[in-house]
């Protein structure tokens, strides 16, 4: 490997990508905490006990429930944001690795996403 600008620039891009991913994770976490907080406040305001058994996730009615200020809708949106944060991090990392031309890491990133997709697919198959 030559000691030219190439590796230095690649290292700089790598650090910048890590910084971007770090900020993304922090931002999504704060958004999730905000949504969960709204849900908990609405839950308390409605006098709902946490042990009363919450409703399952229903994407079809989520929008309507949000407009109706249903606590469960905000809680589910917050929980989805929590789960999406690390998955989103893998997607952003895959793009960053592709821009660096690191195809092995791109393949690994896509492998992680494929494993998660298989999990979702198999769980849906079993449930349906």
């Amino acid at each position: 490997m030559s000691a030219g600008a190439g590796p230095v620039a690649a290292e700089g891009r790598s650090v910048a990508a890590e910084r971007l991913i770090g900020r993304l994770l922090i931002a999504v976490t704060y958004v999730a905490v905000g949504l969960l907080s709204v849900g908990v406040v609405l839950m308390i305001a409605d006098g709902i006990s946490p042990l009363s058994g919450g409703p399952g996730l229903d994407f079809a009615t989520l929008g309507a429930q949000l407009r109706a200020l249903e606590p469960a809708a905000f809680l589910w949106l917050g929980l989805l944001a929590v789960v999406a944060a690390p998955i989103g991090r893998v997607i952003v990392a895959a793009v960053a690795f592709a821009r660096q031309g690191d195809w092995l890491m791109v393949a690994i990133s896509l492998g992680i996403l494929a494993v998660i997709a298989v999990g979702v697919g198999s769980a849906l198959t079993v449930t349906v």
């Binding site: 890590e18 905490v33 969960l36 907080s37 946490p50 991090r89 690994i108 769980a123």
Partner: protein
Amino acid sequence: MLVGLLMIAAGAAAGAFGSLLGLGGGVLIVPLLTLGFGLPLREAVGVSLICVIMTSSASAGVYLERHIANLRLGMTLELFTATGALLGGSIAFLLSDQLLSFLFAALLLFVAASMARGRGAELEVEPEPDRHALVVPEPGAPQTALDRLSGDGYRVHSLGFGVIGATGAGITSALLGIGGGVVKVPLMHLAMGVPLRVATATSNMMIGITAAASAVIYIIHGGIDPYVAGPTAIGVFLGATAGSRLGDRVELRYLRLLFVVVLVITALQLLLRVVG
């Protein structure tokens, strides 16, 4: 309302303890929800996974920003922890609550024994580098896959062992709702030659994707209750944030002793439930 506030407080206590002692909150959240609030173990595990992702994202964000976590190594091992989590998440719904309780009690006793031997406190001290740690490739030499996974001043080795351990950590994480740091940190540090600070930061980052892989399965199976997960996750976030700021002011020796006692009592209570 009182139960909701108690859940926030319980989550905050678990988050603060976990943050101060370098453990994920899962080890405490699951027994708190089962023994304290009467939740079925599988439901508690689902909530715990959400809390684990929450703390992972918050701390990994900071570690990545500061360039402490090893993104390449973490993602390579993540491929295998996610595969393990997929297997564990599927098995979890086939096992009885009693067997899961027994496995969790065994895990608590293992963590308690490790902490009693002082491993928890030593995690904060950087040990002497091992014979592999400072072998850095020559500037002109072609880079191998291991070179590319290595970081500043250390070289990763025993990737095969790491892959097997990471898969096992993923299965454990999904079965018991823990982050798996208790497996991943020693694996990277002791078996793969990664400096402890980097191993801890990288494990924190990896925990998120492992837990997310199984949390998705729990959500689809209806294994996560939003009314329980919401307050508990907020509590964990607040506790972990406070814990990270209190870290320097707390006498960790006594805290660790208290923690060991709590873990042993909790494990015994879980075992009594299994027998009962």
